[in-house]
């Protein structure tokens, strides 16, 4: 059992922020991409993408706490957000 050191507390806090805030940002980007990518009418795409977003968010939160370190969690969330965010931005600029 890890002792309750400040390092431990810091790790928990870092993961919590990564999961809740970082996870929400990543989920928003990912589900927006799903909505754009789905070859369906707008209403269908937005419904499915939003339905899926809840599942995506849950998985991200669980991964953030399951992964080996808080650093990995942050890198994972930040890097995915950056990559997917770039794709989203590019997709927005396409005709």
């Amino acid at each position: 059992m890890t002792s309750i050191t400040w390092r431990y507390r810091g790790g928990v806090a870092a993961r919590t922020v990564a999961a809740i805030a970082g996870g929400y940002v990543l989920t928003s980007i990912a589900s927006a991409l799903v909505a754009i990518a789905l070859p369906l009418p707008r209403a269908d795409a937005v419904s499915i993408a939003t339905l899926l977003s809840i599942v995506i968010y849950t998985c991200i939160i669980l991964w953030v706490f399951a992964t080996a370190s808080a650093l990995r969690a942050w890198i994972g969330v930040a890097a995915s957000s950056a990559v997917l965010g770039a794709v989203l931005w590019l997709a927005g600029r396409m005709p």
């Binding site: 980007i29 589900s31 009418p41 209403a43 795409a45 937005v46 939003t50 977003s53 706490f65």
Partner: protein
């Protein structure tokens, strides 16, 4: 590493569950009660009971005609009429209407006005029933479980949304961390302390897991466009209203033409719908009555499909002609509606509704046993300290107090709400606010007392109080109204909801009483065994 995964998921399960469990108890209790909100509202309006007692042999067409005649007198210029026709869950005709909002009306004023814009008709006589007392009935409990109270609905929905997301995370992490989910499937070992609480938590959680997963996910889905606007922004930009009109294609209202046209007779429309559906329409909505652009929407009763959007037949209000049917929805839109529909369970017949109610109670038990289990586990760390006459830590004391306030205090609040309905003067002003205030005052007092003295004695006192208040409701009902428990046995089926309500609260009261007795018995056993029984920091829930 598998071992690492179980451990991390156990941690996530504990904290995502514990931090919101007391709010979730409110949400679960309110939501579970909401499955019977019509019956609860009916119980809380005893003035309507006499009219409902006589069996109704009036056809839906006749009921609708009666209501329309009354509406033409009272609200000929409304922008919409809503008629709930008699059916098995409500034997009376209920009609309401909305007026176009006057300039400068605040939302509060509009809501207050809307609460006066309705009437109830006895289908047998065609006359208005005795005016029921001003109460929100079961609707208060329903709204409470997602809007909360004393705050704007948006705030309430965000708070409940966050709690629901925590709950979803707790459920999934709980399944991942549960090592022996199959081996322990049927295991229940009472009288073994912590093990027993874990068994109870597992039994209430795992054995209704499909329901718990479904109700949590679908609950978030009901407000998902508010919680996760990103896909909408991506596809619709700032035009959120366009998204709503496309995802909910049959919610659009045609605008009034502002020229008068007498409303066509609704009776033949109902006959036609009944023939087409094989079942009588449950609801009639008249849009722009007495206008050239009037529409009459007949709704099919729920029960054939999961979607909460009832199929409709729409007629032109001026000519009476059947218009083309509702726009067909794609599979995706249907799926969204079905997922939403699973949460509100309009389709549930009495048996299925009882199963939903039972699973809701199991969900309440799941949250409660989880919180209690945490307290029992943490308290063990203080065993040595306690044995030397010391005190438990701040966390354990706080959780103990919150547990009492929520698990024992909430039933007191619910019961107080029903007591207030019978005892508050019928003519008092702002009566609905008063009933709600009683709910929260009762809960607040229970929670406050629990914080002052989070002991086993407090558990027993509050559980006993809840038991007496709940079980006393049928007695209160008999004293204050004419529809005591014996009446539905000899009267018509219309009063069965009243009897059912009385019996259910009686059963809940007996359950609470049994819990209080069980705690007392354990205290006596501990005292007999020479252990300290009622010290200020005594363990409320260790096994004998």
């Amino acid at each position: 590493m598998k071992e690492g995964l179980r451990q991390s998921m156990a941690w996530v399960h504990t904290w995502s569950g514990l931090l919101v469990c007391w709010l979730l108890l409110l949400v679960f209790m309110g939501g579970t009660a909401a499955y019977y909100k019509h019956e609860i509202t009916f119980w809380m309006k005893p003035e309507l009971h006499q009219a409902a007692d006589a069996p109704s042999r009036v056809t839906p067409a006749e009921s609708a005609t009666l209501a329309v005649r009354e509406l033409q007198q009272r609200a000929p210029n409304a922008n919409a009429w809503y008629l709930d026709l008699p059916h098995e869950r409500n034997p009376l005709i209920y009609a309401s209407w909305t007026n176009p909002p006057r300039k400068g009306m605040t939302r509060e004023e509009r809501r207050a006005a809307f609460r006066t814009q309705n009437f109830t008709l006895d289908p047998m006589t065609g006359e208005k029933t005795a005016a029921p007392r001003d109460t929100r009935g079961g609707e208060f409990l329903y709204r409470l479980h997602f809007d909360l109270y004393y705050m704007s609905a948006i705030w309430g929905r965000w708070i409940v949304g966050v709690a629901s997301m925590c709950m979803l995370v707790a459920i999934v992490s709980g399944v991942i961390t549960h090592k022996r989910i199959f081996k322990d499937f049927f295991t229940f070992r009472p009288k073994k302390g912590q093990r027993s609480w874990l068994d109870a938590h597992n039994a209430s959680a795992v054995l209704a897991l499909p329901f718990h997963l479904m109700i949590t996910y679908t609950g978030i889905v009901t407000l998902m466009f508010m919680y996760m606007p990103a896909p909408t922004k991506a596809l619709y930009g700032a035009e959120q209203n366009t998204m709503f009109s496309e995802v909910f294609p049959n919610a659009e209202r045609v605008k009034p033409a502002k020229e008068f046209a007498p409303l066509a007779d609704v009776a033949p429309m109902l006959v036609q719908a009944e023939r087409a559906w094989g079942a009588a329409p449950s609801r009639v909505v008249v849009i722009n009555p007495n206008d050239a652009h009037a529409r009459i929407e007949l709704h099919r009763p729920a029960g054939q499909q999961l979607s909460n959007i009832e199929p409709t037949m729409t007629f032109d209000g001026a000519s009476g002609a059947l218009l083309s049917g509702p726009k067909a929805m794609s599979a995706s839109l249907d799926a969204r509606a079905a997922i939403y529909g699973l949460h509100v369970a309009h389709f549930a017949d009495p048996l299925l509704r009882a199963l939903f109610f039972m699973c809701g109670l199991a969900g309440t038990a799941m949250v409660a046993t989880g919180a209690l289990l945490w307290g029992v586990k943490e308290r063990q760390k203080y065993a040595k300290v306690l044995a030397k006459g010391g005190k438990v830590g701040f966390g354990v004391r706080l959780v103990d107090a919150l547990n009492i306030g929520a698990i024992a205090g909430l039933p007191i609040a619910f019961a107080a709400y029903f007591w207030a309905n019978r005892l508050l003067p019928v003519e008092m002003a702002a009566r609905t606010n008063a009933e709600a205030n009683v709910f929260f005052i009762a809960w607040g007092l229970a929670a406050l007392l629990a914080q002052i003295r989070p002991t086993r004695a407090m558990w027993r006192v509050q559980l006993m109080l809840g038991a007496v208040l709940m079980a006393g409701i049928p007695v209160l009902n008999a004293i204050t109204t004419d529809t005591h428990l014996g009446v539905p046995l000899f009267g018509g089926p219309g009063l069965r909801p009243v009897a059912a309500f009385d019996l259910v609260v009686l059963a809940l009261g007996l359950l609470l009483g049994w819990a209080a007795w069980w705690l007392g018995r354990k205290a006596n056993k501990q005292a007999a065994a020479g252990q300290p029984a009622n010290r200020a920091q005594s363990a409320p829930l260790e096994a004998a």
